[in-house]
């Protein structure tokens, strides 16, 4: 017997009726849900060392609070296992930090998804995929942890605020982990955490833009292809001032690493080369003032610092496909955050 749960209880005849009731009430993301029973919710709370009315976060612009009990209910519905719950808890804490700007992120017509990158021993302990079909279907941990965050936003933050013009499939789930077996510093280490620490990085992002280069054997040329994708006129990286996530696949990593390129050097190179003349922005309609002769030489960067590139190594061992995920709007409105995952979680500190 655990602590008393506070949520309204609904009695139904069978599992089918649970699923249909939740559809009728508008409590799903469009997919069927796992019935959130009291027993399961208590198991999730226990796995994270939380009591039902612990407050994990809030969205103050909407007067909405995320309690541990309500987040656990949504994580059960998403299909999570109890051992995943500390990751979901950390994610909810992360998106509630003021600098993440959650209200804008999940209201904007731009329709960003919230990309999650899980680092540290917990990723393997929970079976998170960092390899083949990284962002595709088929892996329970990736699918359900990301889905839990979306259900939290829909059921607890107010789905009526989501005004996405198009949205993207990453809004169902957008959770990956990093291949930490190489020589590169993992993302959470780049962002100030110890390697053995478990952490989740959250980033409001467009869908993945795949970048293929099966030809280049020179590091610069692999990265030139990536830089070209990062400076697309239609992304907020050119129209605003936001961060950009980059996934380097293992084959590209091998080429870069063999030639001594560290993550830091890759970020510096992309920062320097993901840019285009101001005249391009004017020709492309992002800036309607007249083109001046010097605009051909004045460069506009996709990111304003190498630190604004969230670089991870992940993906299947075969294929030279990397990806970039442009950010949402502006760093004035939303910055990526990295949140440590609670000490009670399986697989690390």
């Amino acid at each position: 017997m655990g602590p008393a749960l506070l949520s309204h209880k609904i009695e139904v005849e069978n599992i089918d009726q649970v699923v249909e009731t939740f559809y009728q009430k508008g409590w799903t993301d469009g997919l069927p849900v796992v019935p959130p029973t009291e027993e399961k919710v208590l198991a999730f709370l226990g796995a994270a060392g939380l009591v039902p009315d612990d407050i994990l976060g809030a969205i103050p612009e909407r007067n909405r609070v995320f309690t541990a009990e309500k987040v656990a209910i949504n994580a059960v519905m998403a299909g999570c296992l109890p051992e995943y719950f500390p990751i979901v808890v950390a994610a909810v804490r992360g998106i509630s930090r003021p600098e993440f700007g959650l209200h804008g992120v999940c209201a904007s017509t731009a329709g960003s998804g919230i990309m999650m990158v899980v680092n540290g021993p917990v990723a393997n302990a929970c079976g998170l995929n960092n390899g083949q079909n990284l962002m595709g279907p088929g892996n329970r941990a990736n699918a359900t942890i990301g889905r839990a965050l979306r259900l939290v936003l829909y059921n607890l933050a107010g789905r009526e605020f989501d005004r996405s013009t198009l949205g993207h499939p990453g809004k169902y789930t957008y959770c990956v982990s990093e291949n930490e077996t190489g020589l590169w510093n993992p993302l959470h280490v780049m962002r100030g955490f110890k390697k053995e620490t478990n952490a989740v990085t959250l980033f409001a992002a467009e869908g993945p833009n795949q970048v293929q280069n099966h030809v280049a054997l020179k590091p610069e040329n692999i990265l030139n292809t990536m830089a070209d994708r990062m400076r697309a006129l239609g992304s907020f990286n050119m129209g605003g001032d936001c961060e950009c996530a980059v996934i380097i696949c293992p084959e590209h990593y091998e080429t870069l690493n063999k030639d001594g390129w560290t993550k830091e050097r890759v970020r510096d190179y992309l920062y320097e080369n993901a840019c285009r003349p101001l005249a391009d922005l004017k020709r492309g309609g992002l800036n309607e003032s007249p083109i001046e002769p010097e605009d051909e030489e004045r460069m506009v960067r996709a990111v304003s610092s190498p630190d604004h590139i969230l670089l991870i190594m992940a993906g299947g061992g075969a294929g030279r496909f990397s990806a970039c995920m442009p950010g949402w709007f502006s760093r004035h409105m939303s910055k990526a955050v990295t949140e440590p995952i609670g000490a009670t979680c399986t697989g690390g500190t």
Partner: protein, 94 residues
């Protein structure tokens, strides 16, 4: 056999708001304008101010720009504005 499941939703936390007192006339009053930072927001609120001045004889306006469209106006900015104006146009969207 029946199943008991839990409601996954919440409600907004209830807070009490007090409506600002409405002026009986706009004549001679100073208007505050909050530009939310999005493109043309300043242009739009200024247009509103011009119309109100022409129609109702406002004495002028003060424009402030929020640092972020998706965050509430910072408290110190709101308080400073409140000291200088009699009423505010605060909400625009797209």
């Amino acid at each position: 056999m029946t199943y008991v499941v839990l409601d996954p939703t919440n409600e907004p936390v209830k807070t009490t708001f007090r409506k600002a007192r409405r002026p009986e006339t706009l004549k001679g009053l100073r208007l505050g304008l909050i530009d939310n930072g999005k493109k043309n927001s300043d242009y739009l609120v200024k247009k509103i101010s011009d119309r109100l001045q022409a129609l109702h004889g406002l004495s002028g306006d003060i424009l402030v720009r929020k640092p972020s469209p998706s965050h509430a106006i910072p408290l110190d900015m709101a308080e400073t504005l409140a000291e200088k104006v009699d009423l505010v146009v605060a909400g625009i969207g797209d």
